[in-house]
């Protein structure tokens, strides 16, 4: 505590009465309102008709199953809640629901089939979401709890599912080998490939007269061998619990299955490998103001310290190298008692900023301190001067450090994410343990206007070379379309629908989401490394 008090509190310079603040806030509230509508849609699963049919069978909906499974009042950090939105052939939220939640006092990676969406069949996007959830379990050593009721693969799209779908089963058994068990509760059918979900899990519970697990259902069996059989004797819960041994527990009903699942997790007696958090101090700056701070237009920069002061304990921030490479802000703080090293952008990345970031990551690894990236970057600086001073090798240092760092990292997209800045600041491909996005976020290789501008220059150059006139009208349309497409594809919603992130969050919840992410990450050992790739000096 004494050490904490020695760290000064950040002071805010935000003018909450400014026009920009008000405009940003209004834009953010409008975005959040439309996101809320989409969440309602995602929660509705396959829609009224299928939900009614499901409930008529006396079954619980996936979110009801999850809510029952979770410890009461405990938080649940849902992953990819809007995945698949506006993606052709997909449903908002896909046919799986998942996230990190507390079961019997242990944070688990919970996955539930959304049986009201195509009978819980696996679509390409739900496969991607399941794969992402499996990664979270693996990287953070979280016990898995799967609530299964799935018709198997979405057969018309088997070409996009079958081959890579195998990785899910491999992941299950590899986690098992790594002493990270998975508990599988089967509520309905789980056939063909799906049968390997319980098959590869460490603990299996099946619901009496409801779970049906077999490689091939009665029609296919009849086709293959001529044998006439029924669902229950072929793969019913009672058979699997008493004859085949595929099920370890036989549940009386759905609630009983969930009770058994909680009982199993309780006796696993999982301890966290990472250090326990210290005392918590609420920030003194108001998180509510984040809505007015984050620029609705990502071209307008904002001081990341205004964000940091609203998400860290006591608004206390121990800044590192404040006078050097000022476009990246680095420093230490605590979030809900967890010590973190924060890297936050303050404009374009220069050589100094990249070098500073690399050094900071190095220091955090030396001390085994988790990293938090607040990404808002338009990329690395370009131009002859910067090439000459080696922006490439300096940028490479940052990417090298991010790539080889072994402490857990959590990335929050607070604004722009363009170009290689995305990589250097621990974008999706750099495997941060969690990555969440603010609604104002824009992401692309470059901005729409820039790309259109580049197109303009190239077209004019090509025309000049051929000695023809530029069709100004055609070029104008082309530029407009390009800009429009890029802009559409660079929105937060477009990104989240494609699982480029783990979800869009309300900026005011950032501290909470970071705390939950860090807490989950602490299930795995928090150990930094001094082994990095060769730095080009």
């Amino acid at each position: 505590m004494v050490a904490t008090r020695a760290v000064p509190r950040l002071r805010s310079r935000v003018d909450v009465r400014s026009e920009a603040f008000t405009a940003n806030r209004e834009a953010a509230l409008a975005s959040l309102a439309s996101l809320a509508t989409l969440r309602v849609k995602a929660n509705a699963g396959g829609g009224e008709k299928y939900v009614a049919r499901h409930k008529k069978r006396g079954k619980l909906l996936p979110r009801e199953r999850i809510e029952l499974l979770l410890d009461r009042d405990a938080p649940f950090l849902e992953i990819g809640g809007l995945a698949g939105h506006d993606v052709k052939g997909e449903t908002t939220g896909t046919s799986v629901v998942g996230g990190v939640g507390v079961v019997s006092g242990t944070e688990c990676l919970v996955v539930a089939s959304e049986a009201t969406v195509k009978g819980g069949a696996v679509t390409p996007m739900s496969l991607a979401k399941s794969s992402r959830l499996a990664d979270i379990a693996e990287q953070n050593r979280l016990v898995g709890v799967s609530l299964i009721e799935s018709a198997g693969a979405d057969l018309p799209k088997q070409d996009q599912i079958f081959v890579k779908g195998g990785a899910g089963f491999r992941s299950l058994t590899q986690r098992s080998a790594a002493r990270v068990p998975t508990v599988c509760l089967v509520f309905g059918s789980s056939t063909a490939g799906g049968a390997y979900l319980p098959g590869m899990s460490d603990y299996v519970v099946m619901v009496k007269e409801q779970a049906q697990v077999y490689l091939a259902g009665p029609p296919l069996v009849k086709m293959a061998t001529g044998e006439v059989t029924d669902h229950e004797s072929l793969g019913g819960a009672a058979m699997h619990a008493s004859v085949s041994g595929v099920s370890d527990y036989l549940a009386e009903d759905e609630r009983d299955a969930i009770r058994l699942g909680r009982q199993i997790v309780a006796h696993l007696e999982i301890d966290k490998a990472g250090p326990a958090p210290g005392p918590v101090e609420e920030p003194v700056l108001d998180a509510e103001e984040l809505l007015g701070i984050a620029s609705a237009d990502v071209k307008v920069p904002f001081d990341p310290r205004e964000v940091i002061g609203r998400i860290v304990d006591g608004s206390r921030f121990s800044e590192f190298k404040a006078l050097y490479g000022k476009t990246i802000v680095c420093g230490w703080a605590r979030i809900h008692g967890y010590p973190v090293g924060i890297l936050a952008n303050h404009g374009t990345l220069f050589s100094e900023s990249a070098n500073k970031g690399a050094q900071f990551i190095h220091l955090c690894n030396q001390r085994s301190i988790p990293l938090v990236f607040l990404q808002n970057t338009t990329g690395f600086m370009v131009g002859a001067k910067y090439e000459a001073e080696g922006i490439i090798k300096n940028g490479a240092k940052l990417i090298n450090a991010v790539s080889n760092s072994t402490v857990p990292a959590v990335t929050i997209m607070t604004g722009a994410s363009f170009g290689a800045g995305n990589y250097g600041m621990s974008g999706r491909a750099y495997a941060p343990r969690f990555l969440f996005t603010w609604p104002n976020h824009r992401i692309a290789v470059m901005g729409g206007k820039q790309l259109a501008g580049v197109l303009d220059i190239i077209q004019r150059a090509a025309a000049a070379k051929k000695g023809i006139e530029v069709d100004e009208q055609k070029l104008g349309v082309m530029k407009a379309m390009t800009e429009q497409t890029i802009d559409k594809q660079s929105t937060a919603l477009y990104a989240t629908a494609r699982l480029w992130d783990d979800g869009i969050i309300d900026p005011r919840d950032t501290r909470t989401v970071l705390a939950l992410s860090l807490s989950a990450a602490h299930h795995a050992p928090v150990e930094g490394t001094m082994d990095f790739g060769v730095f080009r000096h």
């Binding site: 405990a74 938080p75 649940f76 849902e78 006092g105 609630r255 609420e282 809900h336 005011r508 807490s519």
Partner: protein, 673 residues
Amino acid sequence: MRTIETLLVANRGEIARRIFRTCRELGIATVAVYSDADAEAPFVREADQALRLGPAPSRESYLNVPAILAAAEASGADAVHPGYGFLAENAAFAEAVAEAGLVFVGPTPEAIRSMGLKREAKALVAAAGVPVIPGYDGADQDPAVLAAEAVRIGFPVLLKASAGGGGKGMKRVDGPDDLPAAIESAKREARNAFGDDVLLVEKYVERPRHVEIQIFGDTHGRVVHLHERECSLQRRHQKVIEEAPSPALAANPALRVRMGAAAVKVGRAIGYVGAGTVELILSQDGSFYFLEVNTRLQVEHPVTEEVTGLDLVREQLRVAEGHPLSLPVVEGEDEGASPAPLTGWALEARLYAEDPDGGFLPQSGTLTDFALPALAGVRVDTGVEAGSEVSIHYDPMLAKVVARGADREEARRRLLNALRRMSVAGVTTNRAFLVRALRHPAFVAGDLHTHFFEEHLSAPPATRPVDPRAAFAAVLVGVRERALARAAAELPAGVPSGYRNQPSQKQHAELELDGTPVHVRYQHQVRRPGTFDVEVGDAALVVRVVTQTADSVVLEAEGHRRGYRARRTGPAELHVQVSGRALTFREVPRFPEPGARAVAGGCLAPMPGRVVSVAVAVGDRVTAGKTLVVLEAMKMEHTVTAPEDGVAAAVHVAAGDQVDADQLLVTVDASAE
């Protein structure tokens, strides 16, 4: 003159503590005796010495004379105070104490004996010129004779155990047809309670008041009265609310003088020494009849102490030592003048562990909460504390709450306030019933009689819909516990309760209040810490938790801030109290244990007790209401009847068995042909 240095109290609970208190003030060493059931009781802890008498049943402990005398000898006690109940009016005990060379704090064995047998008492009193109630107190106990006497006296009549008191063995009979059964039952109860089934029959006075006069005599031949107490508010012939003075006598001082003079006359007639009470029936027309003399300190003696400023136990001890009464002699003591001043008004309410909505059946269990705030003018005499076991073996009285005031209304308000503010949980009590009685206009008006409860409070209280805030206060107890558990489990404790980055539904809490389900849905508002959106049944409200501790919560809803006592009182039990209303919520488990289903057609024991008789055998055809099993509990008989027509499919108990509350006694198969 004898000096008492060490006093043994041959009693338990509040009266033992009450006597010890005075002993401490007088510098007298204290000795408690206890049964196994009371080994951890406060009165045992507070005594200088404590000696075990025997097992829990009274016969083997508090009625065990040799054990008590052995304890007196072992402890070096030089005096024995019998308290009330148990051996307090047992002449043989008083004799045995004297024979052991000890001082008995009470009247002489002769006085006890003469008043203990009601027939002799009445004759003696009548001879002294005090009016007695028309009745039969003959030795011929032939039921036919009793019946003939009842007809002579005129119905309604009251059957009473000659050796008894405290209502046991009493039966009101309204006509000749009911007599045989009533006589049999009264005799059985009298036999069980007193070992003597001699009955007396007397005139039943309509709407009578019960007024009693406190008398005190010393060994110097002086007998005085210390004014009256009115104890008209009774249920099952047990006093519930008492007061001094009586509203009837306060309005008629001449009547007080006449009644006081009569009481002193009775005391003189038997050469009374020590504290005694002459119980009288006061009819609506102002005539009064002698009822009985209680040769002991009464349960309700505190109201007299509160209006006279006297310590009656102190006077008892002084008199036992041979001192004259400390009160100055006033003129006309034999004509009804009292030497004691009478200042203000005092009311006493007896808090019982009983179910007023369930025939006042005594309740037993663990008192999970028992807290009484200190209030001006309020005195609480109690033998229990939080954590105490209320056993089936003894009287279920938990406490006497006594309030004093300048006038009756002030005392009434103080008593009401005290009852409302005290917190009692774990065992059903008559607290709400007491509150209803004290608030009744007839009570406020002082219009009392011994059938007050039947007339005014026999209808069960109107069921009020559950207060959503109280239900949520109960839920919050669990919310707090779970937050603490998360913090202990290294889960981020400061994260908003029930946080969802994609909210889909509220948190659920399923409760039960008196068997009625209470569905609570709640959601913590992420951006307003401590504020919840709450739905209780159909009611929706926004509630802010202002403060919360392990046993209290202050809530604010719609600008209305209110404190609730809210705490866990069992693994699945939450207790909430607000303004004298105590609600015990049961938490319905989220996951029912498999196989925990109730047996259909099962008849359960209403309370712990002993099986007296089983009136049904397997295969017997039974009709709804037929007696299946008779239980004896808390010295009363309780009948368990068939819930519906059917066939006795199984009988799980036999006569003599000890059973727990809710134990399955008989299974009735209603579907059987």
